[in-house]
Symmetry: C2
Subunit: 329 residues, 2 copies
């Protein structure tokens, strides 16, 4: 739950005068969201989200994120559209913070996703991958293999306080994944795996539905360029495990068939899924472990259990191939 | 900032089926609000606030609060209207909590109120007092003199940790106010001061404006029956001191003239204002001090500085009469 930066009506009115949105009719801080301060803003022309970017978001990355939302919305993907101000800018400043006003997207995120919703999420992910193909900016994935090295090192000394032996297991897993991971896209030799813009954080709280029907994707602040199949592997981790830790292969099959209904996976992508699923599990294990070991007293956000992703990682390590996810090739 | 109880889509849909509001299109936890969990709810028929009542609100008081909002809205006062379900109920239950759905009220609360806004607040307070006259339920003010006694006792042992001598000063102030306070309304002898329904918490965050124009009152969860002039005295405390502690008599004059433009104060009320202003300052000093001394580790809400109200109390103690507030009689 998070509103880190307060704004007063003078600041809000000065900001709104830069736009053609009319006067403020209401403004409410939203409790969801971890990284930034978000306000639901009602004006004479409609409903919007006003986001103030806090310290964890690099200012230099904002043109990529906002430009991408603008690009994807123009391509017809259901996602928030950043509003251009009178001078055409997507990015402004309020209360000493970079900020943007984006369109409000209807929908509710599923606390308990159904197989039908997994199918819709799969299809939406593939539409995102296609819609991003001609987006001209490039942002490497800071949380891929190279980024994990620093997290492994930062967590090493205290990882065993969470679970005895965890530091050693993580180091071993990291070494194995680093050795097996395909070349960075772009730097690769011939026939690299398909790659492009990915959202990189398509957890249920970033995917909206009305009933069981997909209504849109939000929160593009981890978006980057990486393998499409790696995003699919993140989604398998985020959507297809039950609360008790069991892997629900029906949901996985639905997710993958939804994806392939829009963009069929290549044989290479299918074969790489177990590796990518391990990598995705390690990535969320590492960031959760880091946040767990570095809790800020009085923080508004409670850190999530890192061991949830340790268990998911163990599952992916024992699969014999992509058929474990309900896909044959 | 506060959302204490999470609800999932199954619970939300089951709740909405009791109403004639259509399907949920969006639901967002609101960061504002201290006592309850509040969600901004969009449905096919409009925008609403879904409030889940948490432990600090007594369930037995909810018919008073909700019935009052219903009554006041029907009288034309700008305030949220509780929505009746298909069976006519204002109160329901979700996620194990009592809850209500109320209409969404446009407006922004003023972080830095102007004299014009103080005038509008005064007039709205008087309209509230008139509109509540024939409301049939009765709720004594739990935070009037009798209620203070318990807070004084609870804070006594540790008050000096906040400021040396504070416990003694509070005890002395409490004794003085208890001796001078008029009889409880209803129990009084002849010619009691005018009394009826008061909001009892008309701080700026509960009063909405669009620009400088009043748009409505929210958050009736301290409403009770007490002296009208005591509410006016609370408002003087909440609206007319500057951030540096200075009392702004221009704002006080605006507030009182706004009130009297709708309902003139009696001579008795005017003469009692300094006493009531001291009482109101002590009331907020005591509740803030209690919350300060009883902070819950990991609480989502940061307690407010109790000494702000100690300084206000000192101001009211040295005034020579209501003329200090810009009103002569």
């Amino acid at each position: 739950m998070a509103v880190y930066t307060e704004i007063d009506e003078t600041q809000l009115n000065a900001l709104l005068q830069r736009y053609e949105l009319g006067c403020a009719l209401s403004v409410k801080g939203i409790a969801e969201g971890v990284e930034n301060s978000n306000y639901l803003l009602g004006t004479e022309t409609g409903s919007y989200i006003l986001t103030l970017y806090e310290r964890r978001v690099k200012r230099d990355d904002l043109p990529y994120f906002l430009g991408l939302m603008d690009h994807l919305a123009a391509k017809g993907l259901a996602c928030p559209t950043p509003i251009h101000d009178r001078d055409g800018n997507l990015l402004n400043e309020v209360a000493g913070r970079p900020c943007a006003i984006i369109s409000f997207l209807n929908g509710v995120w599923p606390k308990k996703p159904t197989a039908k919703q997994c199918q819709e999420l799969g299809a939406a992910t593939a539409r995102l991958h296609l819609a991003g193909k001609d987006f001209p900016l490039h942002r490497p994935n800071a949380l891929s293999v190279d980024g994990w090295a620093k997290l492994v090192a930062d967590c090493e000394a205290r990882a065993d306080s969470v679970m005895p032996g965890l530091a050693h297991d993580i180091a071993r897993e990291y070494d194995a994944l680093k050795a097996a991971w395909p070349e960075t896209p772009g730097r690769a030799g011939d026939r690299p795996l398909p790659h492009g813009v990915i959202h990189a954080d398509l957890f249920p709280d970033n995917v909206f539905f009305i009933g069981e029907t997909f209504s849109g994707l939000i929160d593009f602040y981890f978006a980057c360029n990486d393998y499409f199949a790696y995003e699919v592997a993140i989604n398998l981790n985020a959507w297809c495990f039950e609360a008790d830790g069991a892997f629900n292969v029906t949901k996985a099959r639905a997710l993958l068939s939804g994806y392939e209904s829009v963009r069929p996976l290549t044989d290479g992508e299918v074969h790489t899924l177990p590796l990518f699923a391990r990598g995705a599990a390690l990535r969320f294990l590492l960031t959760r472990l880091y946040d767990w070991l570095n809790q800020v007293p009085g923080a508004l956000v409670k850190p999530k259990d890192p061991l949830e992703y340790w268990k998911k990682l163990k599952f992916h390590r024992q699969v014999l191939g992509a058929s474990a996810y309900g896909i044959e090739r």
